[in-house]
Amino acid sequence: MSISKLLLSAATVIVAASGASAESHLADTSDKQIALSNNYAGNSWRQAMLTSWEEVTGGAVADGIVAAADANTTSENQATEQAAQIQNMILQGYDAIVINAASPTALNGAIKEACSAGVTVVSFDGIVTEPCAWRIAVDFNAMGQKQVEYLSERLPDGGNLLEIRGLAGVFVDDEISAGIHEGVEKFPQFEVVGSVHGDWAQDVAQKAVAGILPSLPEIVGVVTQGGDGYGAAQAFKAAGRDTPLIVLGNRQDEMLWWKEQNEANGYETMSVSIAPGVSTLAFWVAQQILAGEEVPKDLTVPFLTVTQDTLEESLAATPVGSVANANYTLEDAQRVISEAKGAK
């Protein structure tokens, strides 16, 4: 880092005394405005995502790191509505838009307009394919594979698996499922004997599992996409079957159930999902780009995994009825950026 750049960031050093490591602030972003464009708020993951955004960006605005960080959610989860929202944000003069997109492709036109107007666009979770935008993606395929890997450690003899998928036709559902099936190819002692769509909703998953269970042989493991493990456990219980090894998705009620089972009969499993606080990682990445940092266009978010050892701790940190979460800091964002640079 050059001397002149250090001098440039001197002002930021003073305002960012709240612990944010300021040496990589290349430019002052205290007059910059960042907007969150969110396509959906109707489940607890999205609610936790918005709460994290408020907490972290509220602090950043109070500390003078950025001037504004407004969250906007569309009501109908539709690409057309979100495209209009982005156009409004361009007119309102935001410097950066952080977006969880309704569609990977349908918003590309609006995003290109934003880029042409000099607005930095950072997409996360629901990412966009438009090349001018940054992407903070989740390796969903690896998330699926990881589940089967874990099952192979716990159940070396293998057996029959039940797969609970998400919402049909959504990219995330296809990716996780592909990962699971690649995992099963790698560990051929397992066979997926049944597959249902739980729409990432517990009651739907419970209903679908209850419907398919009577026609299934003995099940040793259930691979899931998060948010549906507790419903599956209820369906197994209602059918009078032994509880198989169910991979959970970091929800508080799932983890509480796991803890109760563990105390009652030594039940052990794992839980994996994406922390809703990934919105705050995207915020810091946007801030770094505005500060002039060189950021690769494709970044990867780490998973949030809960194991038997970390169960108590995660459970204690998760509000009742919510999802295990992690708020990201500026340092986390810098680490993710430098890792992505190293990979190139």
């Binding site: 109707g42 049944g194 909703a201 517990q202 679908a208 419907g211 269970l213 009577p214």
Partner: protein, 312 residues
């Protein structure tokens, strides 16, 4: 004319039985009671919201309630928040749910009557408000139901799920109201020809108001039970009941043009909607195939049921 074959509700029951038999053919008869039990339990939720939707659709063309999912979510969320997992609060929670149903029903009807909005627009717009209230009231946090209520919602009586008993009792009440009460006759008359009914002295607007309140009360009861059944209210818990409530009414043989209700058909169609998904899942059909086949089967049943009706 009164032969069994001419009854439009028959076809949903035939379809449900066929789906059940086809699933059993795969398992060789194993798990029959488990499948029937699951169908009755999960079918009950669709039946309860379907009964409400049936009353509204009976009012005639253009009458439909699209606020059912949001009302379910709001009633489940507020009731569980009010109970706060404390024992002995189940009835109080039910009271909260019923008040939510009353409130959303009155609000829907106020939009339809005073603002003169078409029911589709009025209930859809209002549902955005109800959904937002549910989000605002609890930010999606999941509160567990009190233990005795959870036990009731997932329990059984005389071998049948408790929720199925609730659905059955509500179905009988609706049937008696429709077939044996003045209100039911008024509803059917309004649905057949609203102008003629008004000229004949039927208090048409009173009938519409009570119907729009009845549907949200049914949705509120379903939301309360579903939230207790699945261990807490979720913001997306009502989602699949939007199309489901309309599908079970149409498959059940109720005329979409209004003026003719069919209570047994709603139950048959609710069982069918659960069983057909279970059947296709059991045969390992992928999501695409499953959705296409479900659509084709529904169209087939509606065609069969309506041609039978036309021949009468």
């Amino acid at each position: 004319m009164k032969t069994l074959v001419s009854r439009p509700w028959l076809w949903s029951w035939v379809a449900a039985a066929a789906a059940f038999a086809l699933t059993m053919a795969l398992t060789g008869g194993g798990g029959a009671s488990a499948l029937a039990y699951a169908a009755l339990g999960f079918g009950a939720f669709a039946a309860i919201v379907g009964l409400g939707q049936m009353l509204v659709i009976t009012l005639g063309p253009g009458n439909v309630d699209l606020s059912i999912p949001a009302t379910m979510t709001l009633s489940g969320t507020l009731a569980l928040k009010a109970m706060n997992t404390e024992p002995g609060t189940a009835l109080m929670g039910l009271g909260v749910a019923l008040l939510v149903g009353l409130g959303t029903g009155l609000a829907n009807y106020a939009l339809i009557f005073f603002v003169r909005l078409p029911p589709i627009i009025a209930t859809l717009a209002a549902s955005l408000i109800y959904q937002s209230l549910a989000i605002w009231s609890n930010r999606g946090l999941r509160i567990k139901p009190p233990q005795e209520l959870a036990d009731f919602a997932t329990g059984r009586f005389l071998g049948l799920p408790n929720v199925a008993w609730v659905g059955l009792v509500l179905a009988i009440i609706v049937w008696v109201l429709l077939e044996r009460s003045v209100w039911g006759r008024w509803l059917l008359a309004s649905g057949q020809n609203m102008r003629a009914a008004r000229l004949a002295g039927v208090p048409v607007e009173l009938v519409r108001a009570t119907t729009y309140v009845a549907v949200t009360i049914f949705a509120a009861i379903a939301g309360y039970l579903l939230a207790s059944f699945s261990g807490g209210a979720a913001l997306n818990m009502g989602q699949e009941y939007l199309l489901m409530s309309i599908a079970v009414v149409v498959i059940g043989g109720t005329s979409i043009a209004g003026g003719m209700s069919n209570v047994p058909g709603v139950w048959g169609a609710s069982l069918f909607m659960f069983l057909v998904v279970s059947m296709l899942n059991s045969y390992g059909a992928g999501a695409g195939v499953r959705l296409i086949l479900t659509g084709l089967i529904i169209i087939g049943i509606v065609i069969v049921a309506s041609t039978r009706r036309a021949q009468r």
